[in-house]
Symmetry: C2
DNA sequence: GAACGTGATGCACAGCCGTGCAATGTCGGG
DNA sequence: CCCGACATTGCACGGCTGTGCATCACGTTC
């Protein structure tokens, strides 16, 4: 029975003395089987360690039950939280997540989606990189539904989940102004995705409403190290900022450490800092950072809800969620 | 052509004016097809957006190309790094990762493995929780190879990847003694896996060799918050430790923050701290922590190498790797 | 006792692919 | 001109499941 692969329904049927159909029906909810044969089948299946072959099942059914997560830099606090939430929700919805890594280049995103199509994934959730129109069409033609998280293009048959980044940026600006910050700065990374740009724009707009123009620095990828560099740049200037909005918590952590350990500045006495994402480290006592909370579970919930509703058709849909502000202790009126 | 699902080989054959077999052969490396028909097939496939159905392919072949990663608390620095490395390596080896979440209970590990069997996964890499012997047997009977990372049981047909945690713990002990730490402490979490226990035992043994017995605290799950609680407990005692080995960096971060922000202690002047894992935050300037580096890529490499070698048979195998010490600035001779 | 509805069961087929085997066509050599 | 070698191609089958349809047994009602 274990000739080369796994135990199949035929093996179970043989052992239970019933037809293979009976085995199939036993494991198909809603099918018609008598309690007696069902019992026999289950007994045999347990004894042999039988499990329905989802690959073959996906061949017949329209759905495979697999959903692809396309992501770059999974080893990053925000990403890993989102992926964790998504896989959790997928699982409770009876689906399973297939992880596909990307280096964010177009080529690798394309490869990832091709991989997803190859496994007849029910959907692909794109967290990183941006498939182009032709690619999206190919997915659709293969019955692959596309979910774009915090990306900006909109295409038929696709759902977008977006945050009100712009509004959050504006709110950061108003907050800094309200505590009396006279020299605000904007720190962002060079790998600007749609949402990072929106945050920056919102911040600029919020300041502009009061006639203020921020100092700006843009550097490298979104990372702690970039944050250090951003801070070092800003604090080396003749006129130092006394309030900084960082488009990402990771950057903010770096900025705070640069301020404290390289320039002996006090946060928040000498410098107010606002981040974005509310990664776990933002809540650590070493940072205690005021930031905006990404509604990670809401995002995940929204994606899975859309995927589970068979109604979700060919229309473009955009789900807007809002990022709440989390008040901690990195923002305060400047010292004397 | 897009009646309900995806485009199949028959569609391509029809469009290219060849037999379905020709299509299949075009996408099967090493099969015999003339350049002319191959070109026709590829043209048609591109036009239609055809991709080989890996589900069906996995039905015929012995291998599905899917490897399951069974993990709890993915949203944790060490886990996410390991998972990221594993998916990366799997991908370059031509396989793909299926993520299955666990809450670490036996029931959910069992569910995860059943899920993996259902999808005819080539292997399952277990990072969290511990399948029991019966479960492991069921996997084997279904042709599922099992890789256990930092778990301790050994079963036929299974590979274990282990660190020399014991030795590392001992080395932490010797290090603290060498810098003149007179009151060492051991901080560990209540959710003690095999490797955490080994680190603690190694530390105790290392101290015992010099006739020293550490203070000990054990609390909650492995998290930053637990670290805070551990530190608060230790520093509230009449006799405070002046050197602490934390079985995990996450715990160490909490301990350091408790020391600094709740008890005004200086690290390393008043207190030396050693962690384990070398998570990114350990290198942040706020912590600058001496710790042991988990050879994440070596671990991933070893797993994938074993999976790719068809020779890897029914023998128990154990791969031992060593955790290098990373010197940073959280360890120093106690101040005057 | 006959007609009829109902639930259980099995046959056979579809879904998509890889591959052994036979058939076909082509080319070179004798 | 014939024959063998060889590459190419297609048929048919196997792999595993779900399901429409026909069959059958059984119980009920008149």
């Amino acid at each position: 029975m274990l000739q080369k692969g796994a135990v199949s329904a035929r093996d179970v049927a043989l052992a239970a003395g019933v037809s293979r159909t009976a085995v199939s029906r036993t494991f198909t909810p809603g099918a018609s089987v008598s309690p007696a044969t069902r019992a026999k089948v289950i007994a045999a299946a347990d004894a042999l360690g039988y499990h329905v072959n989802n690959l073959a099942r996906g061949l017949t059914r329209a759905e495979s039950g697999i959903v692809a997560l396309i992501v770059a830099e999974l080893d990053t606090p925000y990403r890993s939280r989102l992926v964790s939430a998504l896989t959790d929700r997928l699982q409770t919805a009876g689906k399973v997540a297939m992880m596909i890594n990307t280096d964010r280049s177009d080529a690798s995103v394309e490869a990832a989606l091709r991989q997803a199509i190859g496994y007849r994934t029910d959907a692909a959730i794109v967290l990183s990189g941006m498939p182009d129109r032709a690619l999206a069409d190919m997915c659709l033609r293969n019955g692959l539904r596309l979910v774009l998280i915090n990306r900006d293009e909109e295409w038929p048959g696709t759902i977008r989940v977006r945050l009100d980044d712009e509004e959050a940026g504006a709110r950061a600006a108003r907050t800094l102004l309200r505590v009396g910050c006279s020299r605000p700065a904007l720190a962002s990374s060079a790998s600007a995705t749609a949402s990072l740009k929106a945050r920056a724009n919102g911040f600029r707009a919020g300041l502009a409403a009061e006639g203020v123009v921020p100092m700006e620095v843009v550097l490298g990828p979104t990372s702690y190290e970039t944050g250090l560099a951003l801070g070092t740049d800003l604090f080396s200037r003749d006129i130092r900022p006394n309030g900084i909005f960082c488009v990402t918590d990771l950057l903010a952590c770096g900025v705070i450490d640069a301020a404290r350990h390289r320039f002996n500045l006090r946060v928040p006495a000498d410098l107010s800092v606002i981040g974005f994402d509310d990664i776990p480290q933002a809540g650590w006592e070493a940072y205690d950072m005021t930031t905006f909370r990404q509604p990670v579970s809401d995002i995940a919930e929204a994606c899975i809800a859309w995927l589970s509703s068979p109604a979700a058709g060919m229309d473009v849909e955009t789900i807007k969620l809002s990022a709440e502000m989390v008040w901690r202790d990195s923002v305060a009126p400047p010292g004397e």
